[in-house]
């Protein structure tokens, strides 16, 4: 069996400044995108149906793709905001962001046009905005809780801050990517953001632990931590990539959303842990601690 090895990177070739520059630049770009989005639309990321209110129905249409879309356009009044085809069966997921027509009426229209209603979902705007508030509060609480825990575990400023900044960037980058790729904030993506907090901190803690709490030379510790950490992240990344692809094919939106955002977050984490967190740790180890 062919075993792959995590390559050993010669960190001595790069200064701390060089190492930190890339992830910080990416973080800055991500923050800019989010700020720009906020300035343009009034929200940091487009909220999905669950937060804005609206209706979503999934219909089975017995027709080839192009024709089916046309029939869908004609069948509904108001016309659906988005139409998404599910590759594995002949169904389409339609969303409506309208308050005038109830979901019952939309179901009627679908049946009248000869479509089979597979599922329907409706959220009122006020319920949605309440949910949004709860979700954002949840993410904030999770982040603060994680930060407090990290400070308690390491009890030193720089290493703890390094973990917290990495985790922050791990969340911000996927959010910016969501804007760029037109992925809406849903309950699934909120769950994924929370999972990023849980997942991404693992490799940071591992790195800090190896460098700070173990005997051994800095680069050697780093390499050992990387061997484990990169393997961890790669397995998760593999699982999530596959889950995203399969769930998209099957039209299971919740799983697809969680998978997509986690893929972004885990990739960002690879960069942040082994460039940003590492450079801060090296600075702390060699210059920050008076020895």
């Amino acid at each position: 069996m062919v075993a792959f090895e995590v390559p050993e990177i010669d960190y001595t070739r790069y200064t701390n400044r060089q190492l930190a520059a890339v992830p910080l630049a990416v973080l800055a770009v991500a923050l800019l995108i989010i700020a720009g989005w906020y300035a343009a639309t009034g929200v940091p990321v487009n909220p999905g149906l669950e937060f804005t209110g609206g209706a979503e129905i999934r219909v089975a249409v017995d027709a080839p793709d192009g024709q089916a879309r046309e029939r869908i356009q004609q069948a509904f009044d108001p016309a659906p905001e988005t139409i998404r085809g599910v590759p594995s069966d002949n169904t389409y997921i339609l969303t409506f962001q309208t308050e005038e027509v109830g979901v019952s009426a939309l179901e009627e229209q679908a049946r009248a046009a000869g479509f089979e209603v597979q599922s329907s979902y409706t959220v009122s705007p006020s319920f949605g905005s309440r949910t949004q508030l709860l979700a954002l509060g949840g993410v904030a609480f999770a982040f603060l809780g994680m930060s407090a825990l990290v400070f308690l575990m390491f009890r030193t400023f720089v290493p703890s801050v390094a973990v917290v900044i990495s985790a922050f960037s791990d969340i911000v980058i996927p959010v910016a990517l969501m804007n760029v790729l037109d992925i809406e904030l849903t309950l699934g993506t909120v769950a994924a953001l929370l999972m990023i907090i849980g997942y991404s901190v693992d490799s940071d803690i591992l790195l800090n632990n190896h460098i700070l709490r173990r005997s051994g030379e800095f680069y050697e510790s780093t390499h050992r931590a990387m061997r484990t950490g990169v393997t961890m992240t790669l397995t998760s990344l593999a699982a999530m990539t596959v889950m995203t692809i399969v769930a998209t094919l099957f039209g299971i939106q919740l799983l697809a959303a969680i998978g997509t955002v986690l893929v972004f977050g885990l990739s960002a984490d690879l960069m942040n842990t082994y460039m940003l967190n590492l450079s801060l740790l090296r600075w702390y180890k060699y210059e920050g601690v008076a020895n």
Partner: protein, 520 residues
């Protein structure tokens, strides 16, 4: 015995695994769980599936209403106070005002009509001269509990088996009613819960040149309510009822006096000529006249003679059978004290999933999970290249999922898509931690003594514990916040981490030790 003491963690894991398998497959466990409402159990396992994976309708909405606390209405009787408040609120009917006394002279006042604001209720109370502590949106706990009971009755009466109604409270103090009905059409459930369902019978009769209308029978006046009848042979669909013995004489007298039980009965033409009809009985549901009917000569005669009260049977006629059914359901379950706030401008959410779709999701999500496991396994095998290390890793991670599935089956927790996502997350974190253990233990050459193994294992566990703690912290808001679909995800991710840290990951350590240290 030495082997057992050495490897007790592995044995503990095996025992727990067997327990989980028992919970999953034993028919004895299913007896208690299958009755769990709102979910469908199916197939060879005792697993229960939620609406997303079995199909059905879910409605979550607050109740319409505003409440004033500690209203001082003095020595006025409560019905009097209700009329007073309703009168000051314009077009709010008395039925929409509920006064619940908390002491001799005060109580809470609820208005359950749509569109009344707390401020309006405040002004109405001021106008009536009642002092009050505060007004707010929402209704009282009693009203919510009553609504839940009546809704549950209605769903049962309508023959929608397995339906549940429950009250949920968000940590921010808001209250919602959650209705879940498997396999049912969304519209049918919405119709059912949307109807307040107050049924009454009014007498409509000529007097002094005009017509008068008085309520003669209400829900409490019936001793028993029969099943809706199809009718046929000149008979309309109807609900046979028996009027209570102590009410029957009064009703009989009213019938005679109003002329309904006159000579030869009465012929009702309320719908076509309401101003020149004989006396009529009107069946009124939620303020709407559903049907009007007269009285047959035979029944009229027995009422006049007073014989009817000895055997006070009666039929409530409707225009069609589905109306009969609704009337029967409403009479048995009673009227809702407050309505669910659903609809386009409401504050609720509803979802419907076709049973076929649910089943498809069940298969698809299972496939997704299995494929994700294969992806993880592939990376692990590629990375270690040693079956001895990698295979136990995959088996251990999968055993976590089996334990969680067993747990879900044991407590009857319905599986939904979010729970499946939780399982996948658990496999992910589980394998991550096993990688930490494996790398740590195998670092720097062979593990040749148990002492070396122990010290390395302990080091690895510090990281695992720290990572587990952060995951639990990150997931805890979702586990307690009522964000609906995601609660199951968070609960099972947290459970998986706990099971992993306490049970499976230590056991994996033992397995590795048995495989790597050869000094036994």
């Amino acid at each position: 015995m030495g082997v057992v003491r050495e490897n007790w963690r592995i044995f503990l894991l095996i025992v727990v695994l067997l327990g989980s398998l028992f919970a999953l497959f034993s028919p004895t466990v299913a007896e208690g769980g299958a009755e769990a409402p709102g979910v469908a159990s199916s197939g060879a396992t005792n697993l229960q599936y939620g609406l997303q994976l079995s199909g059905g309708t879910r409605i979550r909405a607050p109740l319409v209403g505003v409440t004033a606390a500690e209203v001082e209405y003095g020595d006025v009787e409560t019905p009097e106070a209700e009329r007073e408040v309703a009168g000051r609120l314009g077009d709010v009917s008395v039925a929409d005002v509920i006064v619940r006394p908390t002491s001799e002279t005060s109580g809470t006042v609820e208005v359950t009509a749509d569109g009344v604001t707390p401020a309006e209720l405040g002004r109405a109370l001021d106008a009536a001269g009642y002092e009050y502590a505060e007004t707010r949106n929402g209704v009282t706990e009693e009203t919510r509990a009553q609504t839940v009971d009546i809704l549950a009755d209605k769903i049962n009466e309508a023959g929608l088996s397995g339906g549940t109604v429950q009250q949920i409270q968000t940590p921010t103090g808001e209250n919602f009613i959650l209705v879940e009905v498997p396999d049912a059409n969304r519209q049918r459930v919405v119709d059912l819960v949307n109807q307040r369902g107050s049924v009454r019978v009014d007498a409509y009769y000529p007097s002094d040149g005009g017509y008068e209308q008085t309520t003669v029978l209400e829900r409490d006046d019936f001793q028993s309510i029969g099943n809706a009848q199809q009718g046929g042979e000149g008979q309309l669909p109807n609900v046979p009822v028996v009027v209570r013995e102590d009410v029957a004489p009064r009703f009989q007298q009213q019938m005679s006096q109003s002329g309904l039980a006159g000579q030869g009965g009465s012929r009702c033409s309320y719908t076509t000529s309401p101003n020149s009809t004989d006396a009529c009985l009107l069946l009124i549901v939620d303020g709407q006249v559903v049907n009007s009917f007269g009285m047959s000569p035979g029944l009229a005669a027995s009422m006049q003679s007073g014989d009817w009260a000895q055997d006070p049977r009666f039929v409530l006629q409707t225009q069609n059978f589905s109306e009969s059914r609704q009337v029967a359901i409403n009479l048995r379950a009673g009227a809702l004290p407050a309505q669910l706030d659903i609809g386009p401008d409401g504050e609720g959410t509803s979802s419907f999933i076709a049973p076929s779709q649910g089943e498809q999701f069940r298969i698809d999500s299972l496939l997704t999970g299995i494929i994700a496991v294969f992806a993880v396994a592939g990376v692990v095998f590629l990375r270690y290249g040693e079956v001895e290390v990698a295979l136990p890793m995959i088996v251990t991670a999968l055993s976590e999922v089996v334990i969680l599935l067993g747990f879900a089956a044991g407590i009857g927790y319905p599986l939904d898509l979010s729970v499946i996502a939780g399982f996948i997350a658990v496999i992910g974190t589980g394998v991550d931690d096993l990688i930490i253990i494996a790398d740590e233990v195998m670092a720097q050459g062979d593990v040749n003594s148990r002492r070396v193994f122990q010290s390395r294992f302990r080091k690895a566990f510090w990281v695992i514990g720290a990572a587990a703690a952060t995951t639990i912290i990150a997931m805890s808001p979702l586990a307690v916040l009522s964000l609906g679909d995601l609660q199951g995800f968070a609960i099972f991710t947290i459970l998986g981490v706990v099971v992993g840290v306490l049970l499976t990951r230590p056991a994996y350590g033992d397995i590795l030790r048995a495989l790597l240290t050869r000094d036994d």
